[in-house]
């Protein structure tokens, strides 16, 4: 390391900032912390966040799970993309209305410096919905030299896959800390032709679509756009992140309820902007002030296409959502002494949410009529022929509420080898009478210089999302009404983590046990607890029957398991990573006990990077799962057994200025299935491959 003394003083070691809202080594942070850095991203060929999550220990990513969320992520047995918090440089980018976090092709990691994943509850510092993980994608800073950094890349491949991306960064004035950086990424693909790749599975679709004249060949698409910009001026920063994605709205629904025709699409977008100021009051006290605006919209063209009759489609099931939140957060970082530090903060956010709604004819946000007027009402009768038994359910609502929170956490070096972390948070939501308390305690003991033992006990909660509480729809079998009285779901988790770090070996083992109460039972599953009435009638004559449901609280669940993971550099040219995860999950609701929600108890991943020459890097990897539990195999029982996938990424540094790469996803063209929204086996993507080029100025 031939650096000057001054340069050495400026070197920053790999640290994480997400677990405690301050810079610390992974071994000093509470809980299990897993880091993916920029080299991992380039050598393994990650493009978007979902590519990263599919390789992480303890996580299971199910592609094409449902159009509204794209891929579903399960973390340590807990399924649901609305139970993770996703940050971009510390800025929360989850949709404000508590929707599932969209994991599609619209969250680029090409410019990421480091992705930090904190497993387990994170509500003490991050508030609502941090049940199973907090994921922080941190982008690269522009070079301090002042030289402009420009990177452009593009790739094309099978299934008409194409991607373009570019990034920029420059420090304009070092003395004033004035810099600008950002990126844009565009992605599009037709995805696997599931009719020809999975003909047995597709035959029911074909049979149902053929009399309607079209739809026998699936119209699929995977469009994503992501843009980010960051301005730094002294201690003030402004960052803004935009995403937009579009998929077929038939994805993941199973059966023949929804059709893959051209009109069937789901498109949504987010735009999050944060202004932040770091005020270093003294050497020991820093105040960070942040103001954030977060907007999420389901495009008015979004709709499901169902069957209207054996020969026609129903094309009027349009959906719409539009939600915003405005929040402020003040965070004090105080070093009380060399051994005692404190993080203390307060938050306020205002929410104005139109959750996902059915709007016949499609929403017109510019109309003089409000969305509520445009939506109108669902009508049902409880007694056939009795007009007085008529009820109305508004198709669209506006949910407005505030949330206040405060948190305090201490880090205390009790002894040279022993650190205690203790803190708590309280949040008050104006929709809910009781506040939510989320304490966290952790003990971190450095057994030796290479062995670290951590015990963490933490609470978390999910705020009742308008997306669930006010989801009103007619699915053909059920009619779902709203429930404005939903309460938070809570989680308490114990975790024991031991890590070994020596030379070029990093190995960790986590054992966890979690207990979740007052579960938010989403109406779609139509469990006994969700049913308000077994029979209501859409017409006065009583010819169209539905089961009346809503989303409710109830029951309890437990998850337990282990994650064993590691990275190692075996010699100068070969490094590998691996993980094995085992998880169990059991939910008890209204006397019914259920298990893992369509996922696998065993997950194994192995990958390596071989530097064949200083210019050629070959990275094969494999993921193997045991057969997912509680999935209806349908036509895909063979494909559902022990699903696995092998991938290969080859990177060639053609010159100092240019890199060429080949990415083969599911390189062996393995046909396999995972679960879907309806708990029915759903075919996964078969072979896809791209060739790409990346140049840097």
């Amino acid at each position: 390391m031939e650096l000057s003394l001054e340069d050495l003083m400026q070197v920053k070691l790999p640290t994480v900032t997400t677990a405690s809202k301050k810079s610390e080594k992974v071994t000093e942070a509470p809980g299990m912390v897993y880091v993916i850095d920029k080299n991992d991203i380039r050598l393994r060929g990650y493009s978007t966040l979902k590519d990263v999550l599919r390789d992480l220990p303890g996580m299971e990513l199910t592609n094409n799970y449902f159009s509204e969320l794209g891929s579903q992520v399960s973390v340590r047995g807990i399924t649901s993309s609305n139970k993770i918090v996703v940050l971009l440089n510390g800025m929360r980018v989850n949709p404000p209305g508590g929707e599932y976090f969209p994991l599609r092709s619209d969250f680029s990691v090409r410019r990421a410096e480091q992705i930090e994943v904190i497993y387990g509850p994170g509500s003490t510092l991050y508030g609502q919905d941090a049940i199973s993980a907090v994921i922080n994608v941190k982008t690269k800073q522009p070079p301090a030299s002042g030289k402009a950094e420009i990177e452009l890349g593009g790739e094309v491949g099978v299934n008409l896959e194409r991607e373009l991306y570019g990034s920029f960064g420059k420090v304009f004035d070092t003395a004033r800390n004035f810099s600008f950086d950002g990126y844009v990424q565009y992605h599009d693909s037709d995805l696997t032709p599931i009719d020809t790749e999975y003909p047995n599975w597709w035959q029911a679709y074909r049979a149902a679509a053929a009399p309607k004249g079209r739809g026998t060949t699936p119209e699929r698409q995977d469009y994503g756009l992501n843009a980010y910009a960051h301005l730094q001026l002294g201690d003030f920063s402004l960052q803004s992140w935009f995403r937009d994605s579009r998929r077929s709205s038939a994805e993941g629904y199973g059966g023949t309820a929804l059709f893959y025709v051209n009109e069937a699409l789901w498109e949504d977008r987010s735009w999050v902007t944060e202004a932040k100021y770091d005020w270093k009051i003294s050497d020991k006290v820093k105040l960070t002030s942040a103001v954030t605006a977060n907007w999420y919209q389901v495009d008015p063209d979004t709709r499901y296409v169902e069957s209207a009759s054996p020969t026609t489609y129903f094309l009027n099931d349009f959906k719409y959502a539009n939600g915003t939140s405005y929040g402020v957060e003040e965070t004090f970082h105080v070093d009380l002494s060399k051994k005692l530090s404190m993080v203390f903060g307060g938050t306020f956010a205002r929410y104005d949410i139109i959750p996902k709604s059915t709007i016949p004819g499609g929403a017109d946000p510019g109309s003089d009529n409000s969305i509520i007027q445009q939506g109108g009402n669902f009508v049902y009768y409880t007694v056939p022929g009795d007009a007085t038994s008529r009820h109305e359910i508004p198709r669209a609502v506006v949910s407005q509420y505030n949330r206040y929170g405060t948190y305090l956490e201490f880090g205390w070096q009790l002894a040279p080898k022993l650190k205690l972390i203790a803190g708590s948070r309280v949040d008050k939501d104006t929709r809910i009478s009781d506040p939510s308390y989320t304490p966290r305690g952790a003990l971190i003991y450095n057994l030796t210089d290479t062995l670290t033992l951590k015990y963490t006990y933490s609470w978390a909660y999910i705020s009742p999302a308008p997306y669930f509480g006010f989801a009103t729809y007619d699915r053909g079998d059920i009619l779902n009404t709203s429930n404005p009285n939903l309460q938070p779901e809570t989680s308490k988790t114990h975790e024991l983590n031991i890590t070994y770090n020596k030379k070029a070996i990093e190995v960790g083992l986590s054992l966890y046990y979690g207990d979740q109460e007052n579960l938010i039972l989403v109406s779609d599953v139509a469990s006994q607890a969700n049913i308000l009435s077994n029979r209501v009638y859409l017409d006065l004559a009583g010819t169209q029957t539905r089961v009346l449901t809503n989303t409710v609280n109830g029951g309890r669940s437990r998850n337990a398991g282990l994650d064993f993971y590691g990275k190692a550099k075996l010699n100068r040219a070969l490094s590998l990573w691996f993980s094995y995860s085992y998880t169990t999950y059991e939910a008890s609701t209204t006397g019914t006990i259920t298990g893992l929600n369509g996922i696998s108890p065993h997950n194994f991943r192995l990958g390596c990077t071989w530097a064949v020459t200083p210019k050629l890097f070959v990275t094969p990897s494999i993921t193997i799962r045991s057969t997912p539990r509680n999935v209806d195999p349908g036509w895909l029982s063979g494909e559902l057994t022990n699903p696995w996938e092998a991938n290969l990424h080859i990177l060639y540094k053609a010159t100092d200025k240019m890199e060429l790469y080949i990415k083969l996803q599911n390189a062996t063209d393995n046909h396999y299935a995972l679960t879907s929204f309806t708990s029915t086996a759903n075919p996964q993507e078969t072979f896809s491959g791209v060739v790409g080029v990346r140049i840097a100025f």
């Binding site: 390391m1 650096l3 003394l5 001054e6 050495l8 003083m9 070197v11 070691l13 790999p14 640290t15 301050k22 810079s23 080594k25 850095d37 080299n39 380039r42 050598l43 950094e149 452009l152 890349g153 593009g154 094309v156 194409r162 373009l164 565009y186 599009d188 037709d190 119209e219 699929r220 698409q221 469009y223 051209n262 699409l265 008015p300 063209d301 499609g362 040279p416 210089d449 020596k502 030379k503 070029a504 990093e506 550099k569 040219a573 070969l574 490094s575 990077t609 071989w610 530097a611 890097f617 990177l651 540094k653 010159t655 100092d656 200025k657 890199e659 080029v693 140049i695 840097a696 100025f697």
Partner: protein
Amino acid sequence: MTTIQPTGIRSRGAFGLLMRLLIIAASWNLGLRGGDLRAEPAVTEYDLKAAFLYKFVQFVKWPGGGSGIIGILGDDPFGGKLEKALQGRLSIKRSRKPEDLKTCQIVFVAKSERGNASGIIASLGDAKVLTVGESEGFAKQGGVIGILMDGDQPRLEINTAAARRAGLIISAQLLKLASRVFSS
């Protein structure tokens, strides 16, 4: 309502244009920057401390010029990183007894010896040794230089009185970088 285009047609024009721009850009020789790919972990705490030890040789003067040996007292935390940083320019000696390291130019006191700084300094006696520690308070307790980590960044503490007692002259450039200087 917008008209929905068949998949794949929507953006092919823009895509083609951008691809052409990419190829044009790639064909220019604009001094593109090389990547920094590695198949190994990033810089570690002990890569950094090893680099500091080598740098200290250049910014401290020893009476007689020094022996060219760096001693490691206690459990070696470097795991080969010190050899890599020195590249054969200095030799390394390891011991658990301070007395064994009196002939060294620098003695690095590992964390395993924490809490015994005063005893180690006493054991080294009047040896012309630059003592470098990594435990909190090392310089205050009589060591010459402490390399401490403030989160992800290094910090130096220097005891000029201890340096004088060992007959060492620390350059002003090094002193300037210290967050704390103990002169008595």
